[in-house]
Amino acid sequence: MQYKSQAVAKPYFIAALALFVAQILFGLIMGLQYVWGDFLFPHIPFNVARMVHTNALIVWLLMGFMGAAYYLVPEEAETELHSPKLAIALFWIFLVAAGLTVVGYLTVPYATLAKVTGNDLLPTMGREFLEQPLLTKAGIVVVALAFLFNITMTILKGRKTAINTVLLLGLWGLAVMFLFSFYNPDNLVKDKFYWWWVVHLWVEGVWELILGAILAFVLIKITGVDREVIEKWLYVIITLTLVTGIIGTGHHYYWIGTPEYWQVWGSIFSALEPIPFFAMTLFAFNMVNRRRREHPNKAATLWALGTGVMAFLGAGVWGFLHTLAPVNFYTHGTQITAAHGHMAFYGAYVMVNLTIISYAMPLMRGRAANSNKSQVTEMWGFWLMTVSIVFITLFLTAAGILQVWLQRVSDNPMPFMMAQDQASLFYWLREWTGVVFLVGLVVYLASFFIKGEEKAAA
């Protein structure tokens, strides 16, 4: 760690990991409700568990991105953070707001929560991923703006590299696209159309810039490859991302009342979206192969390579699987979508967060890398979680194929609930694999507490 203020990243990373645990616990509750329908009903109905699962995911990824920015920007800009105090204050505001929101989900009926938090003033709640009360949404905007101010000021007074420029673009894009969550017209078609400007233009747009910048930063540090080479790759990757991903939004406009020309535009451009993910895989492997130093943090290297591979599989391959309109006609809104959502989110955004955490945490704790014993444990966590998500994806894909076949393709279409019963074996397998994922997460977290011989920070 070269600048003292980089240390503000630490509470962000710790809180992110705590929320990750909460996310997985609620995932397991839902996984059980899939096969044991009235488990915890009516105390924690499925929709409530789902809100906690997905919102915890989004919030912890954002926490991780912010931590990453606080760690990486001073080092890239070669100057202390504009205001470490502001960063710490924002951390607490964000954490308390997230905590209160989850307590709200779990303790009062959603309709009551909507009423007491002023949803009538400006109805924005009750849409997938954007379930947060108006107050929370406003809080997110305020925290994001203050955070961006802090980061932008730091970059303005320091060195401007490709990495911190791209990161900043991604973070500003993230905040700007979130503003569309306040637009909720009565016209359902328009509502859905602009809802995707948040969801799709996040994960297949601006978040990829953040992903690329974090990966590039870690690769420079662990491989020692020339900045020039790495930054060129970064620009190529994000060009491919936005050239394909912006119009690729059209793959969500096939069946929601929008014009049919989107079937052509959406299919063509989104079919090209795997290319930047493939470029990222090549990027990670190429840089590691051309490394000029042997960095003692092997675990961080593993996470970086893993991000390259799993993002390509989850977003690229599983995305392509259902993105062409004639295929999507049958798979739209089935377990195939859930399969893709899990591997893509894990492979791209969970893993890049764990990459920067793996790289930065030891440095913030005063050493170049953790002890060998700790790293071996961390790598066990890597493999347990990663192999689990692969199997979760495979089981959901199997359930999805069965669902599509029984409910949508066969001559005698089966009602939804009956088709779900037929897939219950796969849901059980998914749930048990989820338990293994949780074990992997616990092993991963345990690695933070394992001592042993460590190398001092360089």
Partner: protein
Amino acid sequence: MSGTFTTSTARNIFYGGTLFFLLVFLALTFQNEQIIPKRDRREMLANPQIAEGKKLWETNNCIGCHTLLGEGAYFAPELGNVVVRLGSKEAVKAFIKGRPAEGIAGRRSMPQFNFSDKDLDAIADFLEYVSKIDAAKWPPNVQG
């Protein structure tokens, strides 16, 4: 990568390429706004019940279990065409009204929301409106 393809070339291609495709996307969006009035049944929104129904749909988080035009959660049936599947708005209202508060043993359960008859009418009107949106012949069949 060759010597002429420098980082600043790559950067310029990034800004130029992004801007170009962003403008194409905005043009498509503009055209989209011109065409959807023929497909989105906005004239039905003259009935204020539908906006009320949408609000009830949102504030009770129905999307947390169901899909609507294929988007949402995959735990419970698609509702974009439920008025067609169950045959009438009356049947939809009866279904929602009839959910046991304690759920159904062993079966995926839907909460009892204790809606007033007025609320139920609004929700049914909203779901009927959704079923009339021109969704390019999706879903493939009535099972959703």
